[in-house]
């Protein structure tokens, strides 16, 4: 990263960037295109970029500028990478609502995955950035779940809670719950650091580290996760436990006490 940014004014930089972008897009396309199109060629890539550009002009340019240079309404997209587009658009955060609150929340996804790929290809062509991870990057195969847990508690739990149930940040911002978030998007979020989340580039959190974290989350926060003790009560800790103890624990006790102390029905006087 450092080297890249230091040399970005080199005459050949544009060429290198373009080549990298093309390679990234190609790889991406190869990964997602149907098998018959596996032999992605120059034409297919530029076609994807071309299609993406059209989509971009309609859906994104009003905030991020016609060439992705950014505006007062949205940051520049040059160099944010395909992973960023895949995350932001793939989780429905982008396009953002016209009047959003403190941060753009997850919402309904309005593009198909193919369209998202085209958008990603276009944005990636604007400047080099992290590519969309491959299935192998985030599959639980070869991951150390326990190590992932330790890494999660060091790097992630402070905002997202022990098992990724989310938490509060300043002034209405929040770290979202990670429940039901696709492993790919979790991986991408670590790479790119969307919105106020810091990024965890490979130099900080290696690819294996990220894989471990994704595997840990899959183990402790999915619909298959075991909760041996019973209801998880939101996995939020003592606050929800306290509410449960008061309402259902003490509430039941009082209901029982009312029964114990109540007078038995009297026989009607004849």
């Amino acid at each position: 990263m450092k080297k890249l940014s230091a040399r970005r004014r080199h005459p050949l930089a544009a060429v290198v960037v373009l080549l990298l972008a093309l390679a990234a897009t190609g790889g991406l396309y190869a990964a997602f295109a149907p098998a018959s199109k596996a032999q992605a060629d120059e034409t297919a890539q530029s076609l994807a970029i071309e299609e993406g550009k059209k989509l971009y002009r309609v859906g994104c340019a009003s905030c991020h500028g016609t060439g992705g240079q950014g505006s007062s309404d949205g940051p520049t997209l040059v160099g944010v990478g395909a992973a960023n587009v895949d995350f932001q658009v793939g989780t429905g955060r982008m396009p953002a609502a016209t009047s959003q609150g403190a941060q753009a929340p997850r919402k309904k996804i309005i593009y198909t995955q193919a369209e998202i790929d085209q958008l990603a290809a276009y944005v990636a062509s604007l400047g080099a950035g992290p590519a969309v991870p491959t299935t192998n990057d985030y599959s639980p195969n070869g991951a150390d779940i326990a190590k992932g847990g330790e890494l999660f508690r060091t790097n992630c739990a402070q905002c997202h809670n022990f098992t990724g149930k989310g938490g509060a940040l300043t002034h209405g911002k929040f770290a979202p719950s990670l429940e039901g978030v696709a492993p790919k998007h979790i991986y991408e979020a670590m790479q790119i650091g969307p919105q106020n989340m810091p990024s965890f580039p490979d130099t900080t959190l290696s690819q294996q580290n990220k894989k471990d974290i994704v595997a840990y989350l899959d183990a402790v926060n999915s619909d298959q996760t075991k909760s041996p003790g019973g209801l998880q009560l939101g996995g939020l800790g003592p606050v929800s436990e306290g509410l449960f103890a008061w309402i259902f624990g003490l509430g039941t006790m009082i209901a029982v006490a009312v029964w114990v102390a109540a007078r038995t029905a009297k026989a009607k006087k004849s």
Binding site: G101, A157, G172, A245, V260
Partner: protein, 545 residues
């Protein structure tokens, strides 16, 4: 002498085995004299009188399950590598305390259930004590002769909080470790001795290798031992004073009306133990509590958001969260007001409710015994004070979970914190005024009910076209019940000049007492209940409607 003995043994041979056993015990323990006044002891029936039993029984359940847990728990902070059956922690370094708690949860059959019963029972124990205390407060059951028992109960609540806190810290998981770290920070803020106390408590720097073992002996021996003693004293006093009762026909300050201990209360109270235990066991079967495996082992450089203590410490947590960060550096020393002030307010707020009975009895100057409970409305100032206190408590409880309020209601955490800061002062005032007005309103309604009867809901049209609602007269029982309470008259300061014309010096405390007394019982602060004359006047035909 010898003849009597022979006679006795002759009688004994004829008696059934149970009686002979009782005779044997009586000769050594005097059980007959003890049972004489207690076996058919009368207890009044009211659901709210059973709240104390919820506490007693959950305490017994906590002791039973706690003893079981000690059989498997290792109170040690030695670091070990986990190789038990919970996969997402295998290979992780953790303390033996955490390791053995995982062992109890996953590898001891029924261990998880007992752990959950223990913890749920603890939360319910504290909640039960809180509600029990409020019942006693709002009905004025703390009045003479029960002030000491009120203090016993209060101490049990406070000790329960600390026993709970030390227990919560034992598994040495990431959440409880964060709580202990908070406690260390709070201790450090104490001027002059804070650092020393912290180093002595933790055996050096935080976290050290000692606190689990030390908290363990405090949690299982020291505090529960004291609590057991207090609880026995509490129960003895309940027996000795006999239970209070609500006003009603046949119920006076000199009797207690209800059913005898043997057999009704033996069955009801004994049965209630099983009911409480059954409910807690079912709760532990259905809902998980403190899933330490999901939380992970403690590391002093890790943390999770939503780090909260159990509910009974939420009030302290709220205070500490709402406090602005004041810090004074003076003459090379630091006064950590941002932490120390909440640390002082915390016991003060608790003490406010604890000393209230003594303040009230000073204001009333009433030295008589009180066994008939007040309806909260009939003591408007006390009720308003209690509601104000609860409001302050609840505001801080909300403050203790400000982050969860923020995320779950899409609010700004800063706004929630500011709300708590303001509401801690404004809330009790509003609650006080509102409660007092409501109480006075209810008193007025009672007065109207006595004088004019109950609204029957039946509308009648008079010959000249006017509609009136028919009021049903109350029965003698209801009339008596609604007017059974006594009303104090405000204390007068008395003449400032004595009979010799010498000016008496007025003490400040006297002036304060007179002021408080009129705030309690002055004209605008209680609605005088109907007198016999008023009733006569209305019922004899004039002045109605």
């Amino acid at each position: 002498m010898s003849t009597t003995t022979t006679n006795d043994s002759g009688a004994r041979r004829a008696a059934p085995a149970g009686e002979r056993l009782a005779d044997w015990a009586d000769g050594r323990l005097g059980i007959y004299s003890l049972a004489k006044s207690n076996m058919r002891k009368i207890f009044p029936d009211h659901w709210s009188f059973m709240l104390g039993e919820v506490c007693l029984y959950s305490f017994i359940i906590i002791i039973l399950t706690g003893v079981y847990l000690t059989l498997f728990f290792h109170p040690s902070m030695n670091e070990v590598v986990y190789n038990g059956s919970y996969v997402p922690l295998q290979g992780q370094l953790m303390s033996e305390a955490f390791n053995s708690t995982l062992h109890i949860s996953f590898d001891v059959r029924g261990g998880l259930l007992i752990r959950q019963i223990h913890h749920w029972a603890a939360l319910i124990f504290l909640a039960g004590m809180f509600v029990h205390m409020m019942r006693v407060f709002f009905t004025g059951a703390f009045r003479k002769p029960r002030e000491i028992n009120w203090l016993f109960g209060f101490l049990l609540f406070v000790l329960g909080m600390f026993t709970g806190f030390t227990g919560y810290s034992l598994p040495d998981d990431l959440l409880s470790g964060t709580g202990v770290r908070f406690m260390e920070g709070a201790i450090l803020s104490v001027p002059i001795v804070g650092t020393y106390i912290s180093f002595f408590l933790f055996g050096g720097e935080f976290p050290g290798h000692d606190f689990v073992a030390r908290f363990y002996s405090i949690h299982i021996l020291l505090l529960p031992g004291i609590m057991l003693g207090l609880m026995v004293g509490h129960l003895i006093l309940v027996f000795y004073h006999k239970h209070t009762q609500f006003a009603g026909p046949g119920k006076t300050n000199n009797n207690v009306v209800g059913m005898p201990l043997l057999p009704v209360y033996m069955a009801k109270a004994g049965g209630f133990f099983f009911l409480v235990f059954g409910v807690i066991a079912a709760v532990a079967a259905i809902a998980t509590i403190n899933p330490i495996w999901a939380i992970g082992p403690y590391r002093s450089d890790q943390v999770s958001t939503g780090a909260q203590p159990d509910w009974y410490m939420g009030f302290a947590e709220g205070l500490i969260r709402a406090m602005p960060g004041w810090e004074i550096n003076i003459w090379g020393h630091t006064l950590v007001l941002g932490v120390f002030i909440p640390l002082v307010i915390f016991p003060l707020v608790l003490a406010a409710i604890a000393v209230y009975p003594f303040i009230e009895s000073w204001v009333t100057g009433d030295k008589r015994e009180h066994h008939i409970l007040d309806r909260p409305r009939n003591a408007p100032t006390r009720t308003a004070f209690g509601v104000a206190w609860i409001t302050a408590y609840m505001v801080m409880l909300v403050g203790g979970g400000n982050d969860l309020w923020a995320t779950h209601f899409h609010l700004s955490i800063n706004a929630v914190t500011w709300f708590v800061r303001i509401a801690f002062f404004a809330g009790p005032v509003v609650a006080f005024v509102a409660t007092k007005r409501i109480c006075l309103g209810l008193q007025r309604r009672d007065r109207d009910k006595v004088l004019h009867g109950r609204e029957s809901g039946i509308i009648k049209r008079l010959p000249h076209g006017e509609f009136i609602e028919v009021h049903e007269p109350l029965s003698q029982e209801q009339l008596h019940t609604l007017t059974a309470h006594e009303q104090y008259v405000p204390v007068e300061i008395g003449p400032l000049v004595d009979e010799h014309g010498v000016e008496r010096k007025l003490k400040g405390s006297e002036k304060l007492r007179a002021k408080l007394s009129s705030a309690y019982y002055g004209e605008l602060n209680q609605i005088s209940k109907p007198t016999a004359d008023e009733y006569k006047e209305i019922t004899s035909g004039h002045g109605h409607h």
